[in-house]
Subunit: 253 residues, 2 copies
């Protein structure tokens, strides 16, 4: 029997000078977070680190030990700046080896594209003991070793790898969410939010203000593993807003 109260957690290490320079807007955090949520796994922490061995090793070792799963994105391609496989192997204290199935996949993929060369063969390198996560876009597979999952930096390729992993990882109850929006300054209804959260066990309410069309508004995001609690909290919040003369917008603004 599953322990329904067990919370499964994951962390993510984004390897990427291009994110830290501001050149590239990261899309993998939101993509992986959303996918994990559906698997019943909570993304607990993200670190963005440069393409630097020591920085990757430190982050991998800090996070893999205190989470059920650790994902990395970036740095598994064929060029000199792709060092994630080496860093993860060093973090785990294992050698880097050529994975025979990865080599076969790459040989087949590159046969009509000029054949394997030394750079392309780099993408068959894995930490010793690793399994592959296949992807249909580019041939080059992702890598799983223990609780560490190495994914691509290109979001479309990571999407394919996540697709291949769907349903494979043990998780708990998914954290459900419901949103109530309102054209109100959050500072006018802070008491209502705090008291509503307090009145229901096992729920959290996040308040996300915005400025749009010259007006102040906010979305209140309720989270709980219980659909029943979620509905009750949303109703209490909506009733509370109406009692204050405000108009709640179910689903958010």
């Amino acid at each position: 029997m599953t322990d329904e109260s067990r919370i499964w957690t994951a962390a993510l290490v984004v390897v990427g000078d291009e994110i830290l320079s501001g050149r590239t807007q990261d899309k993998n955090i939101a993509q992986i977070a959303t996918w994990l949520g559906v698997q019943g796994i909570r993304l607990r922490e993200v670190r963005v680190v440069p393409d630097d061995m020591d920085a990757i090793i430190e982050a991998v070792n800090a996070l893999r030990q205190r989470n059920d799963y650790l994902f990395t994105t970036g740095g598994i391609g064929p060029t000199h700046d792709d060092i994630t496989v080496d860093a993860v192997a060093a973090a785990l204290g294992v050698d880097v080896v050529i994975h025979p199935k990865a080599r076969a996949i790459l040989e087949a993929y590159y046969a009509p594209r000029g054949g394997l060369n030394e750079a392309r063969l780099r993408m068959a390198r894995v930490p010793d003991g690793a399994d592959l996560i296949e992807n249909r876009v580019s041939g080059a597979p992702g890598i799983r070793i223990g609780n560490v999952f190495l994914m691509a930096g290109v979001p479309a390729i990571t999407a394919q790898m996540l697709d291949g992993l769907t349903g494979q990882l043990e998780g708990g109850l998914p954290l459900l969410s419901a949103t109530v929006g309102c054209w109100v300054a959050e500072s006018e209804i802070a008491d209502l939010l705090r008291e509503t959260e307090k009145a229901f066990e096992g729920c959290q309410i996040g308040s996300y203000p915005f400025f749009r069309e010259g007006r102040t508004g906010a979305n209140f995001v309720i989270r709980s593993v219980s659909a029943e609690t979620l509905g009750a909290v949303a109703k209490a919040l909506e009733d509370g807003l109406v009692a204050l003369g405000r108009t709640p917008v179910a689903g958010g603004i």
Copy 2:
């Protein structure tokens, strides 16, 4: 005289359940990274942590000690889930106090908007000894204490706060970049990239592949503090691509 070889670094702690749930696509990392680059400061590491005291305290203490500057985004608003001020104060071992000037700013801002209430007054709370970073959008100021800068979670407000800080922080030489694009699989020219990077001291070349319109291409981003080096590396890379029968695209694809 400035030591031109000194590299100034910053780290960023993004406080946000909404980023970790996948609900919100973060925009502050790219915004702050770009702004720091212009100030001659390199963003060295980012951590995204939940709205949780212990998690924020751990990240703040780890990163403020090994970087010249530490920024945080999120959690400085008026609601119950805004705990960044308390966490930073705890990390620094100081009390939380009401900043008189912040209080005055909020009083003036909210005078025509229903006046100060307890929730709004929360936004005048600062770690003892802090200075304010003003913003013209919402009244509520950002906070500076020592080398730690507390910014808003809403990107438009953080943009205002960064504007107020422009030119205030000591930095080094900005890291310049130039991009060369090419419709080529990066795995076909990995040797050229590695050898070009090796041939020029003080430059890095990042390779960023993409799939677009059914074709494989990549952008090669060259970084250096020297405009002269940058130009020489770009030329060497372009010449190398031409020698391999490829067509470089200056500025990237």
